[in-house]
Symmetry: C2
Subunit: 404 residues, 2 copies
């Protein structure tokens, strides 16, 4: 099967069989839904990838331990408080969330994962959280995925959810994902939350391996503002409800599953970048002609994180000098006499210098919602693509006014 | 002598004896002065530090070669065109600038350095540059330093110039500096241009060594937007006009000179940060309790480059969680149970968690033009300080509208 040939649909985490979800409002935030619950009605295996921030939130520390078991059936989420830097009380509050959710669902606390996002260093309002767990458990439904997608949003402007369907040995399988951004997002595990469910049957170790493969070229290639949150988490639950032969080695079924997962992860990645704080555009940065893949990624991330490149795109200015400057400063090898740059599909520099171009045409292209920036470093044959957004007045407004 | 005990004065590069300067307008930019010339009326030694960007401007490549000789007497600057990525013609244009200046001053081209700043990848308007060299040479004067400081400005809003005076073996000595920012500024050789003159007599190798020592804890600890220009350069000319015993080893005179140079370089660094593109505040980030100095610098630069920290300060919000997040993501060791944070002189977090604080007082402190952010990582005993500015709407305006 061709890589990334899936056409993602607008399903959610309740698209795969055997999953229920809920998203409710308990008043942790002024308006909007603020707690979500996702539940598999049968045993499920789980895999996760987490922030490498050295000050991880309590939920991250807890989930990392749980995911090692390879089994979990439920996830409770609050989007009002990060529960980070809250000391022993924070650890206890996080555990209580798992415990209460488990009690409601008749599970062991070990089978429940927890995610929290919001302000750092504020005590949890456990009274509301407890009420929210009750409400969420009562609201679980077979089509609650969209509510859950809405309930995990913080400064996101749109809920992000996708699904893909495919066959494994004659069985119809599905993957669903809900995701949230939209600031404090950086290349290492680049989303606050990205939660996948699938009804595929797969062994825990292979689920973890498949997940890492899929995330490497998607969520790990996303940057909004170069920041890495204390809470970034990507999780996947697989409950085997599709009835396929359990994937127990890296066979064709495994690769087919990875391809579907990657396609969906790329879609979620683009959706998060497009809805980055204040963003008006999805910016796709592709580096070609790098010495090796690692240098291609380094250069692409440097360009994608460049405040000057991001403001130039917002200003609809084909300022290719800033692209070259960012690549040149990244540490990746670049040939000053051989690089080439394309801005929004138009060649603007070649052989290390400017190339006459139609300014009106390029400004018209920069009006689009999707902008492609491509640089060939003129050194080798490796490539990489990174997803980001432009930098706008609205980013400043959001982050100067998002008060503690 | 105590480190940094100098009180910098508002002198310029013509404060030291034997230096002349000029700043003139030849129409490379719509308004304002756009070419500067600095000249020592006697032989001088020179040292320099340059951008590590792998796509250096033609002037950087040229100056690096010249500085190796250790001798130069003049510097010609244009602030209208970066002359970067201009291929062989760019190299020739750069050399012609040196050649014409040398001819005007009766020097060898080897004795003339060149600096250019502005847009990347645009051909030079050599007709105007040639006229500008004539005008600048004719305008050289003993008090032309301020004109030169004005002529090197790009998006800077104020000219930056300082001087310090001191004695070496009974001889009155001086150092003067002019500097420009104010965007595309990052920790490695963090200014576009910072040009020092001194009448101290010192051997070339020791001048280079003294310069590196002084720059390490000043210009190399400056960041406005995490970007590293293709043109960043710091230069120092020393002509011995003060008549002191030539400094030929690392004796007391040498250390005295380094202290004065460092104090002045710190002052220039602060001035550049304070006048960063769109900045309303100078932000001084100090990291204490780090495992070693290198990790202290890493954490301080991560905090200083954090768009979330910079917007929080602009928004007058003591959002210490963002400071911890940036430090935690930097790779420097941090003890999540022991870190402490001070925002604008007020303790806001201790023992890894929040500390009750007077919000009104801190908001009042954040109204000031100078804001100090301090974090103790709770690991070891090393410290470092980095200088930056806040991130504002005006940064976006400047960089979305500074068209190619």
């Amino acid at each position: 099967m061709k890589k990334n040939s899936f056409t993602p649909e607008k399903g959610t985490v309740t698209t795969p069989q055997g999953f229920q979800a809920a998203g409710i409002s308990v008043g942790l935030k002024r308006a909007n839904k603020d707690m979500a619950l996702i539940y598999s009605n049968r045993p499920a295996v789980v895999a996760g990838m987490f922030t490498t921030n050295l000050v991880p939130a309590h939920c991250v520390v807890y989930n990392k331990e749980r995911v090692k078991n390879g089994h979990a059936r439920a996830l409770i989420v609050n989007s009002g408080n990060a529960n980070c830097c809250n000391g022993e009380q924070g650890r206890l509050d996080n555990f209580e969330m798992a415990e209460l959710t488990a009690a409601k669902l008749g599970l062991s606390p070990n089978e429940v994962l927890v995610l929290s996002t919001g302000v750092i260093g504020e005590p949890m309002n456990m009274e509301k959280i407890r009420a929210g767990i009750d409400m969420a458990a009562a609201a679980l439904s077979n089509d609650g995925g969209l509510d859950a997608a809405q309930a995990i949003m913080t400064t996101d402007t749109v809920p992000k959810h996708f699904s893909a369907e495919f066959e494994l040995d004659g069985h119809r399988c599905a993957i669903g994902v809900i995701a949230k951004g939209s600031g404090m997002i950086n290349p290492h595990l680049a989303t606050m939350f990205c939660i996948f469910t699938t009804d595929v049957a797969i062994q825990p170790a292979l689920l973890q391996s498949a997940f890492q493969e899929a995330v490497e070229e998607s969520l790990n290639r996303l940057t909004v503002d170069g920041e890495m949150s204390t809470n970034d988490s990507a999780l996947i639950f697989a409950n085997g409800a599709a009835g396929n032969r359990e994937i127990s080695k890296k066979n064709d079924d495994y690769h087919h599953f990875v391809d579907a997962l990657r396609a969906l992860a790329v879609e979620a990645t683009k959706a998060i970048a497009r809805d980055g704080e204040g963003a008006t555009k999805l910016v796709t940065v592709t580096v070609n002609g790098a010495a090796n893949e690692s240098e291609a990624v380094t250069a692409a991330k440097a360009i994608a994180n460049s405040m000057l490149v991001k403001t130039a795109i917002f200003g609809k200015d084909p300022n290719w000098g800033r692209v070259v400057q960012a690549a040149g400063a990244s540490g990746a090898q670049i040939n000053p006499a051989a690089f080439a740059v394309e801005f929004a599909g138009v060649k603007v520099a070649e052989n290390g210098g400017r190339q006459p171009f139609d300014r009106e045409k390029i400004i018209e292209m920069l009006e689009q919602k999707d902008v492609q920036v491509t640089i060939d470093l003129g050194v080798g044959h490796a490539s990489a693509t990174v997803f980001t957004c432009d930098l706008t007045f609205e980013y400043i407004t959001i982050n100067a006014e998002y008060h503690t």
